[in-house]
């Protein structure tokens, strides 16, 4: 994937993810002005017209949003939203292609680390290795979207298998960068992982915003292979 295509794909996917997040905020009357403006500022990114002014507006709105909620509203998905937005803006403001590539490369590295570090933390936790951590999430956390899902807490074998599948996927994710085929397969698995989290735990915003970071990694893998 060329740098220009990765940049454009990131703009479109980021705009779509922001539109989805912002639409949900319109339910709250107090937040309508801020998120209505954010939706308008997404349009330049979506249609590829006046992208830099659109990005600068979104950066300003991002700061207002952080001030409004005194931090991220939706945890990791808001942090990833800010990261992609700031890297994309930096790539557009960069004085040379080298710095633009550095900004998008930074995003790709952060995406890789988001999986690897998460997997490493789970791997060192005995409750994750035994499946108990996941059982507790189903049993009594605030996350399961339906009460009937809580019965899954009793499926020990299934949860141990699922825990190890998540751990192995996350810690081995950096190895997927070795070839384009393995990377595309890993990203498809990653998308399925986020979709499952959205279905079971209602974490829908993570799905769309993580997808928006994927083009940067597909480009970086091509760039590294070309440089070797």
């Amino acid at each position: 994937m060329s740098f220009d295509i990765a940049l454009r794909a990131t703009e479109v996917l980021l705009a779509l993810a922001f539109l989805q997040q912002s639409a949900e905020h319109l339910v709250d009357r107090a937040d309508r002005p801020l998120f209505g403006l954010r939706m308008l500022a997404c349009l330049p990114l979506l249609f590829g017209v006046a992208v830099l002014p659109g990005l600068l507006c979104l950066v300003a709105l991002n700061l207002l949003q952080l001030q409004r909620f005194q931090g991220p509203y939706n945890g990791g998905s808001d942090r990833m939203s800010s990261l992609i937005l700031w890297c994309l803006t930096a790539a557009h403001l960069a004085p040379s292609p080298f710095w633009a590539e550095l900004a998008m490369g930074y995003l790709a590295v952060q995406l890789t680390l988001s999986y690897f570090i998460s997997g490493q933390v789970k791997l060192t936790n005995p409750d994750w290795r035994s499946g108990r951590a996941l059982a507790d999430v189903f049993a009594f956390s605030a996350y399961p979207v339906a009460e009937n899902l809580r019965a899954l807490a009793l499926r020990e074998g299934l949860l141990r298998g699922a825990s190890w599948a998540v751990i192995l996927f996350e810690v081995l994710f950096p190895l997927a960068l070795l070839t384009q085929v393995s990377l595309l397969a890993a990203l498809a698995l990653g998308a399925a992982f986020h979709a499952a989290n959205a279905c079971f735990f209602g974490l829908n915003r993570f799905l769309w915003i993580w997808l928006a970071a994927y083009p940067s990694l597909i480009w970086l893998q091509t760039r590294i292979v070309a440089a070797l």
Binding site: N74, R132, D136, A139, V145, L203, N204
Partner: protein, 85 residues
């Protein structure tokens, strides 16, 4: 119980659930010491989500559930003052 259609719809539209997760985050922040903002936001959301509450003042408590060995324990970690809505 959610239908397959319900799961699919929630992939793109789940504002109340996300607000619930925000409440969880506010509760954690409150215990970390970010008192006034978290308290005010929790009160604002509770009042908004429960318009049937006719009271002018409201008090809430935060109950945290955790595993202690083989037992699941509940602990009240915060009780707010009675506050004006």
């Amino acid at each position: 119980m959610l239908t397959a259609q319900g799961y699919l719809r929630r992939l793109v539209w789940n504002p109340r659930w996300n607000e619930g997760l925000y409440l969880v985050s506010l509760s954690e922040r409150l215990l970390d010491g970010q008192l006034s903002f978290s308290r005010a936001e929790i009160l604002r959301i509770v009042a908004k989500e429960h318009p049937e509450i006719a009271a002018e003042r409201l008090q809430f408590r935060l109950v945290f559930v955790a595993r202690d060995g083989e037992r699941i324990v509940e602990e009240v970690l915060y009780v707010s003052e009675c506050m004006e809505l």
